[in-house]
């Protein structure tokens, strides 16, 4: 017998790097309309293949096809387009405001607008999201005022979070949006806990957890799946697979698992993959999962397949680690353009109306910004007080902190 070959460490690497030709030929994309829509009370064991496919509704011609189509009216679709366009315009302005020094930091959604905007439509008032920093569409589509978001971004005197949080780390209990943590993945298991509480209390409200592809590697992700599975928690667990975690390609977090969705299978949780750039598909899948949760059928894991077109944040430059033109090669297209095309196709929209809407939306965003800036920006105008810094650590300020505040002279 010959001696065994020495062992080798496998380190996954992306197909391409800067300077290479972008290549997504390895991404299997099923035809729109080709994936069946099972009943919500299906036995999870019967739909294991949905964790390896991609549910799509909009085809290349802009038609809505297949069993997942037809969940939204024309008005609702136009509304959805508006939400995505608003988020995009909002991002553009805030990105620019950061460059002008009006805030310290910003994170945009470019390319991922459909995910949070369409999902929000499937929820009811009272449901609770446990979001990451890349789901501002939940707020925009949920009617949270842009001025409030900007006040938070500018850390100004009207900031609802008193300047304590990093820009974009919003919180709005009223709008079903849990306080964002900078520490990845912590919210995913908390969403399960909130859902368990709703079930313990015989309530009817459900929770939605959110996590990025990279962050699924955290232990909290796996904790969420086991608790959700064990207690059949009324929760929708969303993975936003935008292909990148800062400079790290999704293969590092996914490892040998075929897909992120497939992580759910070992826990007996129904797992679906959806075209995250298809507003209609995201909504249809969200609706399906929300109904399951609401009908005591337990958790669902959804992998939204999308692409982070922009930089990770204003502190990042992706040209250092991926080809500059990679986003153009992304095969699922742009969510705004795809929904626009569909609306035109069904005669509910036109290029003229689109251009006009773009201008109107930009005006709204600019007006909101003007309003917010009246209350100050990070380095000028009104700011939260130094006193605010000491408040809110506890319900009642303990004596040692009071002493520190007095010593600080505020």
């Amino acid at each position: 017998m010959s001696a065994p070959e020495p062992l080798r460490l496998h380190v996954p690497e992306p197909e391409v790097r800067p300077g290479d030709e972008p290549d997504f030929s390895h991404v299997q994309i099923p035809r729109a309309g080709s994936v069946p829509r099972p009943p919500v009370d299906v036995d999870p064991r019967e739909i294991r293949d949905l964790a390896y496919s991609i549910i799509r509704v909009l085809n290349r011609q802009g038609e809505a096809v297949g069993p997942w189509a037809g969940t939204l009216s024309e008005d609702e679709l136009r509304d959805g387009l508006r939400h995505m366009m608003t988020l995009r315009a909002f991002d553009a302005r805030m990105q620019n405001a950061q460059r002008q020094g009006k805030t310290s930091f910003y994170m945009q959604h470019m390319g991922e607008e459909a995910v949070s905007c369409a999902f929000r439509r499937a929820l009811e008032p009272g449901d609770m999201n446990f979001p990451t920093y890349r789901q501002a569409g939940l707020l925009i589509a949920g009617g949270y005022p842009m001025v409030e978001m900007m006040n938070q971004i500018f850390s100004n005197e009207a900031d609802p979070l008193k300047g304590r949080q990093l820009p974009i780390m919003y919180s709005s209990k009223e709008h079903g949006f849990f306080s964002i943590s900078g520490n990845l993945a912590t919210q995913f298991i908390q969403a399960v806990g909130w859902a368990m509480a709703s079930a313990i209390s015989r309530d009817t409200r459900i929770a939605a957890g959110w996590i990025g592809d990279g962050s699924t590697a955290e232990s909290d992700f796996h904790a969420a799946l086991v608790f959700a599975s064990t207690y059949r928690a009324p929760v929708v667990l969303n993975i936003v697979n935008n292909q990148w975690a800062i400079s790290t390609f999704q293969g590092i977090a996914r490892g040998g698992s075929g897909t992120f969705a497939a992580r759910g299978l070992g826990f007996g949780i129904p797992a679906l993959r959806v075209d995250g750039n298809d507003y209609l598909a995201v909504h249809a899948v969200a609706k399906w999962a929300v109904e399951r949760a609401r009908r005591n059928l337990g958790p669902t894991l959804i992998e939204h397949v999308t692409y982070r077109v922009g930089a990770h944040s204003t502190s990042d430059d992706p040209s250092a680690y991926r080809p500059k033109t990679e986003s153009d090669a992304w095969p699922l297209g742009d969510p705004v353009i795809r929904l626009k095309k569909h609306l035109i196709k069904i005669g509910a929209w036109s290029d003229e109306r689109h251009t006009q809407a773009e201008a109107e939306i930009m005006d709204e965003v600019v007006a909101a910004q003007r309003e917010a800036e009246k209350h100050g920006t990070l380095h000028s105008g009104g700011k939260p007080s130094t006193r605010d810094m000491f408040e809110g650590v506890f319900a009642t300020m303990p004596p040692h902190l009071r002493r520190q505040r007095q010593k600080a002279g505020v």
């Binding site: 590697a217 800062i246 790290t248 990070l378 130094t386």
Partner: protein, 337 residues
Amino acid sequence: MARMTMIEAIRSAMDVSMGRDEKVVVFGEDVGYFGGVFRCTQGLQQKYGVTRCFDAPINEAGIVGTAIGMAAYGLRPCVEIQFADYVYPAYDQIVSEAARIRYRSNGQFTCPIVVRMPTGGGIFGGQTHSQSPEALFTHVSGLKTVVPSNPHDAKGLLIAAIEDPDPVIFLEPKRLYNGPFDGHHDRPVTPWSKHPLGEVPEGHFTVPLGEAVVRRPGSAVTVLTYGTMVHVAEAAAGESGVDAEVIDLRTLLPYDLEAITASVRKTRRCVVVHEATLTSGYGAELVSLVQEECFWHLEAPVARVAGYDTPYPHAQEWDYFPGPKRVAEALIATMEA
């Protein structure tokens, strides 16, 4: 000698260590191809290959846990946690495992790992990019904790840490990465290239763990500090007119008791300065040591200047940061006491 920023010095320490010892491996989030979000590992993957410098999944417990396993095998992992604020998922691996493996196996297994992480505020990073958690490590038996204040020491200490037979927590004050920040946030920072401690030997050298250094000799009061606050304390001494002796501890555990007591017995006064929150901070340990060892020499109560006991705020960063003004006030008050 070469001119280096603190980032370059830290990179050079890993480069030198990897070049000398193929047991040294480097990994962490975004550490491989990209070279780390602060670029401390830039070029190392290219030079040493993907099995010696690689990207890790985002799981800090996993990063430290695998490092411990590698160390048990016989490697010398030097891992990066992207920000000190994200080390908590790894806390169990560090506290219950890395710190105790030598003790509980009676030396059959050891844990020569280094866990590097950027620490401290001053970059408008809000509560999750600004924390100084050193006391959470100095409180644990079996861990060494290091906080450099300049490129020269960063390189020498990091090489010493990598070569050390026990686990070392290596906290890098991120506000110092590109220059000696003295707390005057409204003034431009001089780059390390214009600072004597930006001069760093290119090859192998060490700054031994456990040795403090006098950064500014003085006769009136001893300032015990480390990291960013070394520069703040130096500025405060100059601005207050108090002839303070500034001691840069460099290693918090094991600490250099001799350097501490020699200075305090000379000046008879002491101010302890750190950016971390006050209560149960590392400063409390320093004050106790000074009290135990120098009580009969003291002419004034030992004072502390530290971060307030609140999470690190975003907008109020400069109200929170214990800058030169607060340090100067403490120096003056200690002289008047």
